[in-house]
Symmetry: C2
């Protein structure tokens, strides 16, 4: 019986065409985060299980991680998220690092879930974090970076929306305003986090179950609904509108508006899944009707670094996944037609392989990326191979060409065929490289 050629379920093979798209996306992303002074880091994909037990959230750790025992008897996890790892790394060098510390990474992450269109078992995720800034300038900066990332692909503000909430505010709503105890408030927060994936009736019934009789009789469900249905601060119950815990949401929204970001709004239903957030949380929503979902999210988590026994460090960060980004670009027609890295394909006529190799070496030393056909097939078949590989230019190398040092260059896109010296060929092909990179598809 032969082996299966399928990749592991819910994970992707990246053939050159897909890898090219990934490199294009990550290249743009790196450019934006470097612009803001962020430095790249990385870490092992395996971490000890303990790292996630404290603050990642029960559902993820108990049901969705790839956890196993290694040959040395240690419980390890293939990282489901990067935030605990980066907090660990900062804690290890707490004193040596300079703050504000700006770091990013593009790790692959694993979750055991039923694979869906925008949620796979393996995905890549940009992680951007700023450490050491307690003011909302930190929220402003990372949200501006997220905004700039979408803009860098040609997106406009009508294509997506930035939504903000505050864990501190929601804690106040659940604990003080509604009067839930700690465990009830935790369950209610988890329920709200799932509410947009549920029937409203089911949500209301489950929410109601979390109230004790006295809280229920005090009209808690009605009050909760009023909070969750508020699309603006003004629609909140009056006592909440000017509460201290809402101040940072107002401040962040104002700063964003001052910086030209007008597609941001308050959203009291936004919770985020992780337990470590301490105040502002935010998400960017794709507004395309076929693709209406959160594409990235983050928030402030001031307590995580201190779990490693060092002084706390105020931190704001976000994660932005490759799959929702690719879906967004596709839905909005922002995917460019990406050029292959190979500039030129050398086809060989007759028994001149060794001499052709020298010619190709010369072209490479002049800066071209050149693949040579070593199949010994007929000329027409060699041209077909060049086409399969989407290489734009073909050079024909035969006995006469080598003798005269004049070579036929064919542009497979336009059909134009010209005869030139090697150096002329190099400059023609390089010119195309400049103009065609990331050109829009017709």
């Amino acid at each position: 019986m032969s082996l299966s050629t399928q990749p592991y379920k819910g994970a992707r093979d990246f053939y050159p065409e897909q890898k090219r798209l990934q490199s294009f996306m990550f290249g743009k992303i790196r450019q934006v985060v470097h612009r803001y002074g962020y430095e790249e880091y990385d870490a092992p994909i395996l971490e000890p299980l303990e790292l996630y037990l404290a603050k990642t959230g029960d559902e993820i750790v108990n049901e969705q991680t790839y956890t196993f025992t290694d040959r040395g008897g240690r419980q390890v996890v293939i990282r489901p998220e990067m935030t605990p790892t980066v907090s660990r790394m900062v804690a290890a060098k707490r004193q040596e690092l300079g703050y504000p510390l700006r770091w990013f990474s593009i790790p692959n992450l694993w979750r055991y879930e039923r694979p869906q269109r925008a949620r796979l078992r393996e995905h890549w995720q940009l992680n951007v974090d700023i450490f050491g800034v307690a003011s909302t300038q930190a929220e402003l900066e990372v949200i501006l970076i997220a905004d700039q990332i979408y803009q860098s692909f040609g997106a406009t503000h009508d294509m997506y929306e930035i939504r903000l909430n505050s864990r501190k505010f929601m804690d106040f709503v659940l604990s003080e305003y509604l009067g839930l105890d700690g465990a009830q408030a935790y369950s209610m927060a988890k329920l709200i986090d799932r509410m947009n994936k549920m029937e409203r009736g089911v949500f209301l019934a489950q929410a109601d179950l979390l109230f004790t009789p006295s809280i229920r009789e005090a009209g808690a469900l009605e009050r909760l609904v009023k909070v969750l249905d508020a699309k603006k601060f003004e629609q909140l119950p009056e006592i909440l509108q000017s509460h201290a815990t809402i101040a940072n949401i107002r401040a962040t929204l104002q700063l964003l508006e001052d910086n030209g970001v007008r597609n941001a709004r308050f959203d009291s239903t936004l919770m985020r899944g992780f337990d470590y957030y301490t105040d502002i949380v935010f998400e960017v929503f794709d507004l395309h009707p076929d693709n209406n979902r959160a594409m990235m999210g983050g928030g402030r988590y001031d307590g995580l670094v201190a779990l490693f026994g060092v002084d706390p460090v105020p931190t704001v960060g976000f994660g932005l996944g490759d799959v929702p980004l690719a879906n967004f670009l596709e839905a909005h027609g922002l995917l460019p037609n990406l050029r292959v890295e190979t500039d030129l394909y050398a086809v060989i006529v007759g028994d001149v392989q060794e001499a052709a190799q020298r010619t190709v070496s010369e072209l490479r030393s002049m800066g071209l990326n050149v693949a040579i056909d070593l199949s010994g097939k007929k000329l027409g078949d060699q041209f077909k191979t060049a086409q399969k590989k989407s290489v734009q230019h073909v050079i024909i190398v035969g006995e006469n060409e080598l003798a005269e040092q004049q070579f036929k260059l064919k542009n497979l896109l336009t059909g134009v065929e010209e005869t030139h010296s090697l150096s002329r060929i190099v400059s023609i092909v390089k010119d195309h490289r400049k103009t065609d990179v990331f050109d829009e598809a017709e």
Copy 2:
């Protein structure tokens, strides 16, 4: 009790300084392989266990893999090598792809081993493969690429050596010339693979144990030693010198010499660990006395793609690890002093944070990578932070500077301080970027 800040044993955290080195190495590598027309691919880090059972080799699969059962009951492995994966991917699109097919990848790989200096549990490895070429032109091309990679870092041929052998030749030696049966020949090949890590006496004793009495009496050990001690073809027993199975080694060495690679030689002790090689195998050895070891290796494996039930594809490929490469560059003094990506650090005087942000935005839109100090600390402390981050230039932004649009720019390397307009600052800093990138350390 607080959490540990240590990474998983035998794996590395990449702080920005280490990540910069990795990006530098992989950047150079990508440039070289693109020059030869290779396209990048990738695949999930998890593969089904079956993929490795056929041809990876018992020791690796049974003792060194990270194998576990996922939540769906499937036995999976964190990939210990990339060759089975790339063969799977080629087999899946056997008919659609154009040959010669040239692919590369830089995956992270995992092996459960006792961590040593040049062998960690997680490492990255360049994989270069050419599919569809049965002639030694394929061996020539991939070995030239390996050679070019070392050259691209400034290495010279006296720093390393390329060693070649042939599995076909060794099979002939073990089976026909010495008369071992299949199982004995397999064990002997594995023993030879480890011989350079053993005392010679121990090796000889263990080798002797693999002979049956009649083979032993025919002088097998002496004949084996003569083969393994041969440094050139001429030192082999005469009957082997011109044997057909040695022809491809001779041909490859000749082609390499014709292409200016004179540091390649025959090495009859070279086996390589994997079971899938079918003819030529090769390694590149670091000749530095402190670092004398194989840095990369590969060979021809014509049978692997066919395991997936499609027609066989002749293939030659190699793997080149990040750790031996970094050790090589360090030992030979080839590590450059790498520039941080952040061009400019903005320090703030007085209560002008919001206005300073606008100035910094302007600098970014003119193409500079700028980090802004949001700490509110004293000027001297902000300068210290810039130094900690190794940013070369600092711009001072205060009320006067904003009013006059003239800003102090300080070069922290030279100590030079000048006052300029923003656009002048941009061109000064960009000029430094050009000259200082990858500048050699003093």
